[in-house]
Symmetry: C2
Amino acid sequence: MEEKNPIQVSERIFHTIECLAKYGPMGLLELSKELNLNKSTVHRILNSLIFMDYVKQDPETSKYSLSFKFCHISNQILAQNNMIDIARPYIKELAEQTGETVHLVQMDGINAVYIDKVEASKNSVRLVSMVGKSIPLYCSGVGKALLADMSDDKIQHIWEQSDIRKLTDYTVTDFDKFKKIIASIRKDGYSLDNEENELGVRCIAVSLKDYRGKSHYAISISAPKDRMSDEQLKNFQKLILQIKDQIQWEMGQRH
Amino acid sequence: MEEKNPIQVSERIFHTIECLAKYGPMGLLELSKELNLNKSTVHRILNSLIFMDYVKQDPETSKYSLSFKFCHISNQILAQNNMIDIARPYIKELAEQTGETVHLVQMDGINAVYIDKVEASKNSVRLVSMVGKSIPLYCSGVGKALLADMSDDKIQHIWEQSDIRKLTDYTVTDFDKFKKIIASIRKDGYSLDNEENELGVRCIAVSLKDYRGKSHYAISISAPKDRMSDEQLKNFQKLILQIKDQIQWEMGQRH
DNA sequence: GTCCCAAGTTTCATATTATGGAACTCGCTT
DNA sequence: AAGCGAGTTCCATAATATGAAACTTGGGAC
């Protein structure tokens, strides 16, 4: 049985916040129905958040929405992460050289979290930013690159904790097959994601080892599959392995 | 006398979060001293946040820190704002043409909040991102551009509510002088910030009017003063006014 | 113009919940 | 092995959050 939250209101407050984040501006009744809470309770929660400037109420429509204070917190968190500073110029370069989107991720338990991204200027269609989003290690290019640097025991442990499921027809869900893939990543030095995570998207990734030989970060190049043919991949492979060395050297410098 | 927060824990929870955002990973005692709260109370708050994955405890050092879940919330908020999507290609272009950093801000009471920024590829020194941060209307280029589009009554009202203080030697703190500046912005169509907000930084800004003639957004080009001479400014002025028209046209299209 | 209804707001007695002092555990240092 | 600093757990108690109900407001409909 799942433990329960030690502070009831806290649970309710964050459900409220998550609800507003998901749906955008909402009315009081609407919110209280969605959250299954008494409207007085929701009203009090909202007032508390308004009091601290985390929520605004539109004077016209009287709908409630989240303020940009959350963005400020988010930036303070990202600013504390100096890996972003180190990697930024290199992933920018990689994005320009390839013309595709490049991501930087950080290990986080059984997941990887996107902490930075650079998209090439040409394809300036802005997708919703992934920063802050997490994806499972077992079914992503970056995840497999990170796993390949771990001991076999550790890999098995993470595999067992993960919720293994076919996200697309190409997702690998058999552990023996998975181990073979890990072996080839160790041999090649890079990992691939052939639509295992999202149909139509391929990606190539490498891990970044720190001075102790531990990998907590990885980078990837993602592209629609028609822009990432097998020959194109050879090109990307060379570029990403170069950048990996450069970033690792820089990391060493700053130890 | 200031009203008090209708939920005590809520206040305490967010103080905890803000404290962690400001200082980075902290120990329990350290936090409880900083917050003037009993360590049991802080411990319970942290456990509640950990339960919901907003906080992580480092298994090595047992220090507490914020997770990337806040970044995810932040991105959901920004994704709801379609002004960012509209303006993005244009401010990107402006950043490339000028080689300087371009910001997009949104009106927010007596402040303007940075909601997007693009920095030119060349000067890829990453400053801490401003997104989510707010600056007073009365002493920023973007703020004055927004104010210039309001009625004189409204301007006076905002002036009176603002905490007028000299942020630098150049900050204007006299209302009569300020009104003259507003008049010239109305005449010229753009506003300037000559180190009024931060020493050594100049900036030029324009407001963005929606189809009803109301301005809720503004853009600016910022640069160190030695890269923004008076003649350079003429050049920027032309470019930013062009982009203003283009964005406003795009806004009209999507009305 | 007035009636009505839906939506937000305020109040308050009550039960539930958060509180914090104290006791406990764990890992280092001396 | 004792002492210390740090995190963790427990529990009686006070204080707080709760939600039903009453109240207010504003925008149509007629």
